[in-house]
């Protein structure tokens, strides 16, 4: 080791030994002494100094703009060598104060030694800093409003395998996010630092007339019929299926039957005591349309035969598209017995009298209806804003948003246990739909953001905490847990945006021109109830059961 050191030093000396050297060396100590004095002033005005540095950088850099698409820009930023050197000097001066070099007390190592020792570290740091702040300075200098993080063009060496199976390296240019790009960039030893990046811009647009937005409010109110049907539904939920010993099968009864399925005279399934309902349903992946009608009127022990087409996406490939014969022998029939509203029923609901129960049901229905109407009106405002605003969305952004929403939906579907084939089929449709939806969502996001900015609508800490507390209450968890969980990801930001959007829409709704319209929903409801109350209740049950399946 010692030999190497000595040899290196010998080379150094031989190279640098000229006549002027002694004078330079004599100057060295003076420079070193000046440095700490400058440093001592730094901490006092740190913030303003940072701003000053930014302003300086802004002036120093040169920026070239190039439009490469709708709302997409390519920036080429050049940081001159002077700035580079100055920054490097500053960094070393700062480093000198607490550099630990063996043989020297902390902060007493000469600058030249520190420079030699920490050159690579400082270079890396300087590179990250200059690229980051250089980009920000360029954005400020050109007065741009970027959207999200920029992507940087960098040369990346990639290893590929050639025809003769030998790996070779290719240098390609790639667009990478800053953290990855920095690793692949090289800080020039001499000359200016140049880098180029691509960014998306926030769309510029004019807001439409925000006062007196036409909003239609359906004139619906909760009446006795609604309360009645809600109570019926509550009773039904507490109902129990009881076996029916005699008589015929009625619609929506619960059946237990022995089942045999044949396709092309070959028995493909045979099961005993299969649970069925006396309505259209799906058995073994085959939809039995009209089964409800076919089975009504049969009695215990009767045989029911039924033919149905096997769908093309059935899990068994051999029977796809063929006709399947179903044979059922009814073993047991059960019917739902709805309890009456009596004291026992009231006790389970926690009310003293039927009157109280009705009042409570009415008020809860009313608040539900109110919420629905409000949501509807907010949606109308959203639609108005989207329709009336001319706004272009950067393509990359909308694409990313689309991909995100598709990915989310796909996970949901897999979690729900939907088979792969069906998921893929739906994905294609979804892709087409999701793009439009994503563009609309983004448009609305920008519009609401602009309105919030113009009207100084902001979400306070208390409001945010309130919303978190509500979530905590609903999910029965502790407040701080929920908050921690939200703050881990993008949760808090999303919640903030949600609250802000709500406030904006609420403010717009207050100024909106609301016209009352006949509620179409209500009409239907009334008709149904008047014609057949029973039918409605059974229908509800059907839908509930279907979802259960």
């Amino acid at each position: 080791m010692s030999d190497e050191d000595v040899a290196v030093n010998q080379e150094d000396t031989a190279a640098e030994q000229d006549e002027e050297q002694p004078e330079q060396d004599a100057k060295q100590p003076e420079q070193d002494e000046e440095q700490p004095e400058q440093d001592e002033e730094q901490p006092a005005e740190e913030l303003s100094e940072e701003e000053q540095a930014m302003a300086k950088l802004k002036e120093a850099i040169s920026v070239e703009k190039e439009e490469i698409g709708p709302l997409r820009l390519k920036l080429t930023v050049t940081v001159p060598q002077d700035t580079l050197d100055e920054r490097r000097g500053d960094q070393f001066a700062e480093l000198k104060r607490d550099a630990l070099v063996p043989g020297f007390r902390k902060g007493h190592a000469p600058l030249r030694l520190v420079e030699k020792r920490f050159a690579t570290d400082v270079g890396e740091q300087l590179k990250t800093q200059l690229i980051g702040s250089g980009y920000l300075a360029a954005v400020e200098k050109e007065d741009l409003k970027p959207l999200g993080d920029p992507l940087f063009w960098v040369k990346v060496k990639e290893e590929r395998v050639g025809d003769d199976d030998k790996p070779y390296k290719v240098e390609t240019e790639k667009l990478l996010p800053i953290d990855k790009a920095v690793d692949n960039m090289i800080l020039p030893k001499e000359g200016p630092l140049t880098f180029s990046c691509e960014l998306e811009l926030k769309p510029e647009f004019e807001l439409p007339e925000l006062e007196k937005i036409p909003v239609k409010r359906p004139a619906v109110a909760i009446d006795d019929d609604d309360v009645e049907s809600e109570l019926e539904r509550m009773c039904m939920m507490r109902g129990v299926f009881q076996p029916v010993e005699e008589g015929e099968v009625e619609a929506d009864d619960l059946l237990y039957a022995d089942m045999k399925i044949t396709v092309d005279e070959e028995v493909i399934a045979r099961e005993e005591n299969v649970e069925l309902a006396a309505r259209d349903l799906r058995v073994k992946g085959v939809p039995l349309v009209g089964f409800g009608k076919a089975v009504v009127g049969k009695a215990l022990g009767d045989q029911v035969t039924f033919e149905a087409e096997v769908p093309d996406d059935h899990e068994n490939i051999d029977i796809r598209g063929k006709t399947a014969q179903f044979e059922f022998v009814i073993c047991e029939v059960k019917r739902l017995e709805v309890p009456p509203i009596d004291e026992e029923f009231l006790a389970t609901t926690g009310f003293d009298s039927e009157k109280e129960l009705r009042a409570a049901t009415r008020s809860s229905l009313e608040s539900q209806l109110d919420a629905t109407i409000n949501r509807g009106m907010r949606e109308q405002i959203g639609q108005y804003l989207v329709d009336k605003t001319v706004l272009e969305i950067p393509e990359g952004l909308s694409q990313r948003q689309t991909d995100r929403s598709i990915a989310r939906r796909m996970i949901e579907m897999y979690q729900a246990g939907i088979p792969q084939a069906q998921v893929e089929k739906e994905m294609d449709e979804l892709r087409a739909r999701a793009h439009d939806q994503a563009v609309r969502d983004l448009k609305l996001f920008f519009i609401l953001e602009k309105i919030a900015e113009e009207r100084n609508i902001d979400v306070t800490e208390e409001q945010l905490n309130g919303a978190i507390a509500q979530i905590a209450r609903q999910s029965n968890r502790r407040f701080d847990r929920v908050r921690d969980e939200l703050s881990k990801g993008e949760g808090l930001k999303t919640l903030y945006l949600q609250l802000r959007d709500q406030q904006v829409l609420k403010a717009l709704l207050e100024e909106a021109e609301i016209t009352e319209t006949e509620g179409p929903k209500k009409k239907k409801k009334v008709k149904k109830k008047k014609t057949a109350k029973k039918k409605k209740t059974t229908k509800k049950k059907v839908s509930r059961k279907k979802t259960d399946e």
Binding site: V6, T13, Q21, D25, P29, G103, F104
Partner: protein, 103 residues
């Protein structure tokens, strides 16, 4: 002894840097210039051998050499005592026209 065995390594330390930059008693006639460089040398190297070695390795003219034997310190690991190695330090004062770039 080979010259590269005589000079083990230059001592880049705070004191060494100071001596190379500031005046010392031995170099008082040259104001504001030290020109004294510290090296770790072979414990048995003499002043003349050190002078020769430095002159050859760094192509400089040596005015004087001061040496010091640094006796190793005793060190204890649990109940066993040991000793760090003895070594020799040489401070080489160069002629006024020469200088060594140690780092």
């Amino acid at each position: 002894m080979d010259i590269y065995h005589v000079i083990k390594r230059p001592l880049v330390t705070e004191k060494g840097t100071h001596q190379s930059q500031q005046s010392h008693e031995a170099t008082r006639h040259r104001r504001a210039r030290g020109g004294a460089y510290a090296f770790e040398v072979h414990p048995e190297a003499s002043k003349p051998t050190i002078k020769q070695a430095i002159e050859k390795i760094y192509s400089v003219k040596v005015q004087s050499v001061r040496t010091a034997r640094r006796i190793g310190k005793t060190r204890r690991v649990r109940y066993k005592t040991g000793k760090t190695a003895d070594w020799k330090k040489a401070v080489v004062v160069l002629h006024a026209d020469y200088h060594i770039d140690l780092f």
